[in-house]
C-alpha cells in the first residue's frame, strides 16, 4: 500500500488590493512568504530540518519575485539549510499544482514533509512583467492566443450566458465572502506583520458591498482586445461564432490582489515525529489540457478526471471550491456538472476577494478545508482553470 499524503496545515495571508495604496503594496513578495513560514513554524513548533522541500508558485518569476524565491525566502527566514526550495509556474494554477506535486512526492515515498504554496504581489509586479514566450510573433502565428477576458466572454457567448447571469453570480460571491468574513470563517488567514511585529494587514481587503444595479453600471473590461482582433482570431477555432457580447467587467471577474499561501503536506510517519495532527488527506489530483484559445474550459474535465481516479462521483463531494477566474467559468462548471448552489464556493471566491495568480490555489484549498471542518463534512474538491487551457483539481478528505 502506498503512503498517504496528509495535509497538516493550510494557511494564507489576507489579500490586499493589488495596486499602489493596497494594504500589502508596501510588503515585498518575499516578506509575504516569510510571514507564512514564521507562522507555520510557530503554529507547529516545527523542526524545520525535517521539511525537505518547498514548492512555491508565482505568476511573475522576475525581479523581486524572480529566480528561486522559495529558497531565498527559506534562507532569509532562517529555516534549516536542509530545506530546499523551487519556484514553479503553472499560470493561475501554480499553488494548487505545488500542493499536488508535494502530495505526489509524499505518496511516492521520495519525501516525507513538503511545503507547497504560492506568492504574488500584483501591486508591485503587475501582470506580464516577466514576459512570455507566447508574446513572440512567430509563436503567436501558430498559437491563436487571445486575452483571457475575451476567452471568458467567448465562453459566455457559447453557453448563452448573459450579463445578468454573470452579475448575479458576482453579487452572490460578494455577499457570501462578506458573510464568511463577518462570521470568522476564514480561519486560515495569518495577518501580515512587519519586522517589528506590527500588523500591516489582517483581513481581505477587496470584498465590497455591491448590488445588481451597481454591477450593471460597470464597463466591460476586455472590449479593447476585441477591437484589436482577438474575437476574430478566436473564430479560427470557433467558426460558428459571429459576434460576442462583452459581459465581463471588474465586477464579475477575479480581482487583482496581493497575497501568499502555504500548505504543509506530509506522510503519516513524518507527522507523528513532529507531533502534527493531520487535517485531511489528498484523495486524488488531476491535470488536464483543453482547447487553449478559449483556455477556460479545463475545470469540468479536471474534476471528472479526479473523481474517476478516486472512484468517486459528484455526490461524494460535499463542497467545491472552483476558482472564480471569471463568472462564466463558474457558471459552466455548475451547469455541466450539475453542482448545487449550496455546495459551490460557499464563502465566495476570487470575484470578491481577488486572485493573486500564483498563490490562489493554496488559498482555495485552505478555505475548503476550513469550511469542511466548520460544517463537519467529509470531502471537498478544489478546482481551477489556468492558462493554455490547463485544468486542475484536487480532492481532499478529512481524517
Amino acid at each position: 500500500m502506498t503512503t498517504e499524503a496528509y495535509i497538516y496545515d493550510a494557511i494564507r495571508t489576507p489579500r490586499g488590493k493589488g495596486k499602489q495604496g493596497g494594504g500589502l503594496y508596501e510588503v515585498k513578495p518575499v516578506d509575504l512568504v516569510v510571514n507564512l513560514l514564521d507562522a507555520m513554524k510557530a503554529r507547529h513548533d516545527l523542526d524545520t530540518s525535517k521539511v525537505e522541500d518547498m514548492l512555491l508558485a508565482t505568476g511573475e518569476p522576475i525581479n523581486e519575485q524572480g529566480m528561486d524565491i522559495a529558497k531565498v525566502a527559506l534562507v532569509y527566514a532562517d529555516w534549516s539549510d536542509a530545506t530546499t526550495g523551487a519556484q514553479l509556474h503553472r499560470y493561475c494554477a501554480g499553488a494548487l499544482d505545488a500542493v499536488n506535486l508535494a502530495a505526489a512526492k509524499v505518496k511516492a515515498g521520495f519525501e516525507d514533509l513538503v511545503l507547497a504554496g504560492g506568492v504574488e504581489s500584483m501591486s508591485r509586479l503587475g501582470i506580464g512583467a516577466s514576459g512570455s514566450a507566447s508574446g513572440d510573433p512567430w509563436v503567436a502565428f501558430h498559437s491563436y492566443s487571445i486575452s483571457q477576458g475575451i476567452g471568458a466572454d467567448l465562453l459566455a457567448s457559447l453557453d448563452g450566458v448573459t450579463r445578468e447571469d454573470v452579475d448575479r453570480y458576482a453579487a452572490q460571491s460578494q455577499a457570501r465572502a462578506a458573510s464568511a468574513r463577518d462570521n470568522g470563517h476564514f480561519k486560515s488567514i495569518v495577518p501580515v506583520k512587519d519586522m517589528n511585529g506590527v500588523t500591516v494587514l489582517g483581513h481581505d481587503e477587496l470584498i465590497r458591498e455591491t448590488s445588481m444595479e451597481a454591477l450593471a453600471k460597470l464597463n466591460p473590461s476586455f472590449k479593447m482586445f476585441g477591437d484589436f482582433g482577438h474575437v476574430d482570431l478566436a473564430k479560427f477555432k470557433y467558426p460558428q461564432v459571429e459576434n460576442i457580447d462583452y459581459i465581463h467587467t471588474p465586477g464579475n471577474s477575479s480581482g487583482i490582489v496581493d497575497g501568499a499561501s502555504l500548505v504543509l503536506v506530509g506522510s503519516e510517519q513524518a507527522g507523528k515525529e513532529q507531533d502534527l495532527t493531520p487535517r485531511a488527506r489528498v484523495v486524488s489530483v488531476a491535470l488536464v489540457g483543453t482547447e487553449p484559445t478559449i483556455m477556460l474550459t479545463g475545470p469540468v474535465p479536471a474534476a471528472e478526471k479526479a473523481l474517476k481516479k478516486a472512484g468517486l462521483t459528484m455526490d461524494d463531494i460535499d463542497l467545491f471550491e472552483l476558482n472564480e477566474a471569471f463568472a462564466s467559468v463558474v457558471l459552466r462548471f455548475q451547469r455541466e456538472l450539475n453542482v448545487p448552489d449550496e455546495k459551490l464556493n460557499v464563502n465566495g471566491g476570487a470575484i470578491a476577494m481577488g486572485h493573486p495568480i500564483g498563490a490562489t490555489g493554496g488559498m482555495i484549498l485552505g478555505t475548503l478545508l476550513d469550511e469542511l471542518e466548520r460544517r463537519n463534512l467529509k470531502r471537498g474538491m478544489a478546482c481551477m482553470c489556468a492558462g493554455g487551457g490547463i485544468g486542475i483539481a484536487t480532492i481532499i478528505e478529512r481524517v
Binding site: 513572440d136 510573433p137 484589436f228 482582433g229 473564430k235 467558426p239 460558428q240 459571429e242
Partner: protein, 723 residues
Amino acid sequence: MGYIRLEKDADGIVELIFDQEGEKVNKMGDEYIEAMTKAVDEIEAMKDDIKGVYIRSGKSTFFGGGDLNKLLEIPTDMSEEEKTNMYNGILNAKAPLRKLETMGLPVAVGINGAALGGGYEIALACHYRVAIDRSDVKIGLPEAQLGLMPGAGGVVRMVRIHGLTEALTYISQGKQLSGQRALDKKFVDELASDEADLHAKAKAWILANPEAKQPWDQEGFKIPGGSPNDKDMDQALMGLLYFGPVNVMVQSNGVFPAPKAIFACISDVARVDFDTAEKIESRYFLSLLLSQVAKNMISTFFFQLNALENGASRPSGIEKTDCKKLGILGAGQMGAGIAYAAAKVGIEVVLKDISQENADKGKAYCQGVCEKLQGRGRMTDEVAATLLGLIKPSADAADLAGCDIIVEAVFEDRKIKAIVCKETEAVTDASSVFASNTSSLPITELAEASVRQENFIGMHFFSPAEKMPLVEIICGKNTSDETLAKAFDLSIKLGKKPIVVNDKRGFFTTRTIGTTINEGAEMLLEGINPVLIDSAAKFNGSPVGPLNALDEISLATAYKNGKQEKADVEATGGTWEVKAAGILLDRMVEDFDRKGKIYGAGYYEYPEDGKKYMWPGLKEHFAPNGYKEIPFEDIQDRLTFCQSLETVRAMEEGVITSVGDANIGSIMGIGFPAQTGGVIQFINAYGVKEFTERAKYLAEQYGPQFEPPQLLLDKAEKGETFQ
C-alpha cells in the same frame, strides 16, 4: 561567363559594374553569387590601393530580383541535405555584401533604373545610395506580393535603417518608391538628374567619406524606434508586437505564409547581432521558398499575369489598336464606372441613357468617385476636371457617332439589348466595335440583332467597374479577330486584365461563381449552420462568403435576374434547371420578404446600433430540429471544389482554354482565394489525383455536382497537371 566588371578610375575608385551576359536584366542567382564573391575578393586584395567602391549597372536598368523560374522549380518536399544546401546558398548570396560593407572602404551605389528585390538589397548593403530622379527608377522590396520576402539581408538592413514599424510597412506592402518619395523615405540618400550626375555624385561622396561605416557597425548603434529587447520597450512597439500578429491573421485569414514570416522575421532580427540576424532571415526566407503558396502566387501573379498582359490570349498579327472615343449605353453604376475608368486614361466618353437625367446621374457618379479621391488628397482638382470634361452625358444616339467602341451596359433583357444595338449601329462607323457587357447572355445570340456580327463581342466588366481589375471578353461565333484585338487593347488601356473566353450561357466567371453561391444555398437547405458556411468561405481565403455576397448584391436583384434568366432560357427553347440557389431565393424573397442588405434584411440582420448577424429565422425555417453537423473542412471544400470542377467542365466545353486566364479570372473577378493561385492552380497544387479522389468523396457525400468531369479523370489517370 561575364557578370561583373571591375574598373578602376583615375581617382582610385573601383567601379563594380553589373552586366550579366545574355540577360536584359541583372538577376540574382548562382551566377551572381559566383561573380560577386570573386569580385569582392579581388577588391579586398587591392583594398589598400583604392579609395572606395562604386557599384552600378552596365545596363539601362539597375538590377532585378531573383530568378523566379528557378524558384518555381524548387520542390516542396526536399531532404534535409537538400534544404541545408539551399540554406547555405542563401547565406552565400549575402556573404559578399557583408564583406564589402565591412571592408573599411566607402561603398556607394548608383541606381539608374529599377532596383527591386535583390537589386535593392545590394543597394542596402552600400554605405551611400544615389538614384536618378525618374519615374521608371523604382526602388523597393516587392517580394511579399509574390508570397516571398527579401532574403539577401533586406529585412536585416531595413529594420536597422527604418525601425521595425516602418520596415514592416515597406516590406509587407512591397512598396516601390521613386524620386523625391524615395529620398524622403530614406530609400536613397541623394537624387541625381541623369547617369553622368549619378556617377559624379556617388564618386564625390566616396572621396569625401573615406571612413564610411554602416550605422549598425558603429559603436552604440540603436534600432530607430527601439528593439523588442529593450528593458523599457517603446509602448507603440509593444503594441505592434502584441496586436500585430493578430492583425496579420485576421486580415489574411491566416492563409498567406509570407506576411507571417516577414512579421516574425522583423521582430527576430531586431533581437540579435547583425550576423546572427542574417542567418535568421535566411531561415524564414527558405521557409517561403519551400511554401506552396509562394509557388502559386509566382505562377499566377507573375508568369501567367505577364503572359496575359503580353497578349497571350490576343490574336497575333494584328497591330495594336487604340480606342480614342468610347460610347457607353446605360448610365447605371456599371456604365458610369466604365465611363470613369475610360476618362481616367484620357478616352473621350459618350455616356448615353434613355433620358438626359439618367445620363447626368451617371456622370454625377463619376464626379462622386473623383470627389472621394480629392477629399483624401489623392486626386488634384485639375485631374478631376480633365477627367470629368471627357465624359459627355447624352440621351441622343447621334452623339455616338465616331465612337471606336460601344459598350452596352443596359438591363439584361434581349429585347432592350437588341433595340439599343440597332439604334447605335445606325449612327456608328462600319469599323466600330459593339461590346455587350452582359454577364451571362450568349453573345452569338445577342449578335443576331447586329448588322455587323463580326464587330460584335462581349466585354463583361465587374462592379464597381472603376475599381475591379477584370474584364471577361467573350467571343461570339462570328466575332472577328480584329474585334477581339480591339476589345483586348481597350481593356489593357483601361488598366484592366482581360481574359478571353468562348460563348456559352454564363461564360466562365458567372457560371463558376454560380456554383459556389448554389453550394452555399445547398448547404443552408441541408440544415447546416449558415454561420459556418460564410466562415468556411472566409477561412478559405475568400473575400466574402456566399450568403454575405448575395446580401451585398441584394437577394432581390439575384431573384429578379434568376427569373429573367429562367424566362430567357424557356423563351429560347431550353429547359430551366431548378437549383438550390433558386429555391432558396424564392423562399427568402417571396415567403420571408428578405431582400438583402440595402433592404435592411437578408440572410443577415442589420441592426442599426450593432454588428450584423445571421437571421435567426434561417435556423427556424431550415434547421428546426437542430443543425446538421458535417466536418468544417467539408464545408470549406464544398465551396471551392465546386468552382474548380465547374472550370474543368468549362474547359471541356471549350469555353475557357487558357489556364492562366482561368486562374486570374477566378481571383480577380469572382474572389476565388488568392493564395491558391486560382481555380486551376488549386487543382494542380492539391495534386490532380488527390483532388479527383476528394471530389469523388464529396460527390458520394453531397451530390453529383462534385462528380469529376472526364477531363479531370483523364488528367489524373495520366498523372498530368493543367498547363
